[in-house]
């Protein structure tokens, strides 16, 4: 499988995975109880869910999958705007990966003080 074919495939796999993850996320954050429906998301309410390591694992996976999907999509947009030369394309890719890694670390660090 070529690298481009893999990226194309993964965009669809991650997209499909994001659908149930998003439904679950919206449900758990906004619909599961009357408090949540009002939008009263306090530290205590969220902590009760997020201190569970299973939820942390799901949330982190959710973040990584969403980051891959979004940044891969963004790279596609870059490639669509005319020929940027193989070196510039690789440089852009490295930049996007770096941004993605930093973003992921920042997101995972949200759990470090719980």
């Amino acid at each position: 499988m070529s690298r481009n074919a893999f990226a194309w495939y993964m965009q669809r796999i991650t997209g499909a995975l994001l659908v149930p993850l998003l439904i679950a996320h919206f449900w758990v954050e906004h619909f599961m109880s009357a408090t949540l429906m009002r939008g009263d998301l306090t530290y205590e309410v969220i902590l009760s869910r997020i201190s569970n390591p299973w939820w942390q694992a799901i949330d982190i996976s959710f973040l990584l999958i969403a980051l891959y999907h979004g940044l891969n999509g963004f790279y596609g947009i870059v490639l669509d705007y005319g020929k940027i030369g193989p070196r510039a394309a690789t440089a852009t890719l490295i930049l996007i990966v770096a941004v993605g890694v930093a973003w992921a670390i920042w997101g995972i660090m949200a759990f470090h003080n719980l």
Partner: protein, 238 residues
């Protein structure tokens, strides 16, 4: 009924501008008929191309009210409203008024090695393609391309990336790659796999399918390559 026909006028180097002509239109009149009428009775200087006048040759392609269409196959009655806007096909070099050069189209066409590289060029035998071959099964309805350039002009990706191969070239490549008599499959697959020019730039906008006068499902041809390059590493059933 009366219609106002706006024609994009441009010459060598000069900026394009709209010039309008009023025409009394009978119901069966096509855009091409209207152009002939205007040229003969109102303004002999307008430039446009045509050949067969029956939708077979693909020469009279132009942008009609924003959509790439064949002038000979577009009746004025199909177009809503009193005003009709005729512009040259986008993404191609404009020579004058509605006349374009298909050179950019064929430059992409040539990149996919459109000629068949036969297994045995010296052979005296007829090379027969069997009825039940992959070629016959997968290319039904795909062999009718008249290289009119409408798909190339309508493609939204080509609007921003002139290096994209385009639907017609990729469809042609499909005909060659599936042909059991051809030997250049690997080279073509590599060209089609290119990250900036190849099939991966297609985003299934399907403008090409909407405008193809031969009803070729171009997006399906391009999708065929995406699935093949993906799943089978270019391997095809024979």
């Amino acid at each position: 009924m009366n219609k106002r026909i706006f024609i994009s006028r441009s010459g060598s180097g000069s900026k394009s501008r709209w010039q309008n002509y009023t025409l009394e239109c009978s119901p069966e009149l096509t855009v091409l008929d209207a152009l002939f009428s205007i040229q003969q009775q109102q303004d002999p200087t307008i430039a446009f191309r045509c050949s067969c006048r029956v939708g077979m040759c693909g020469t009279c392609g132009m942008q009609i009210n924003g959509v790439s269409r064949l002038a000979c196959k577009t009746r004025l009655t199909e177009l809503d409203g009193k005003d009709v806007f005729l512009a040259p096909l986008p993404h191609l070099s404009v020579i004058r008024d509605l006349v374009i050069s298909l050179a950019p189209f064929f430059e992409q066409w040539r990149k996919i090695l459109p000629a068949m590289r036969s297994r045995d060029p010296e052979s005296q035998e007829l090379a027969v393609v069997p009825e039940d071959s992959a070629y016959m099964r997968h290319t039904a309805g795909k062999r009718d391309c008249i290289t009119c350039g409408l798909c190339f002009s309508a493609c939204g990706v080509l609007a921003t990336n002139k290096h994209y191969l385009g639907p017609a070239a990729i469809n042609k490549a499909l005909l060659r790659v599936l042909d059991p008599r051809d030997t250049a499959r690997a080279e073509r697959l590599e060209i089609l796999d290119s990250s900036q020019d190849g099939v991966w730039r297609c985003h299934t906008q399907m403008n090409c399918v909407a405008v193809c006068p031969k009803g070729i499902d171009l997006t399906e041809s391009i999708g065929f390559f995406k699935r093949r390059l993906l799943l089978k590493n270019g391997e095809l059933e024979s």
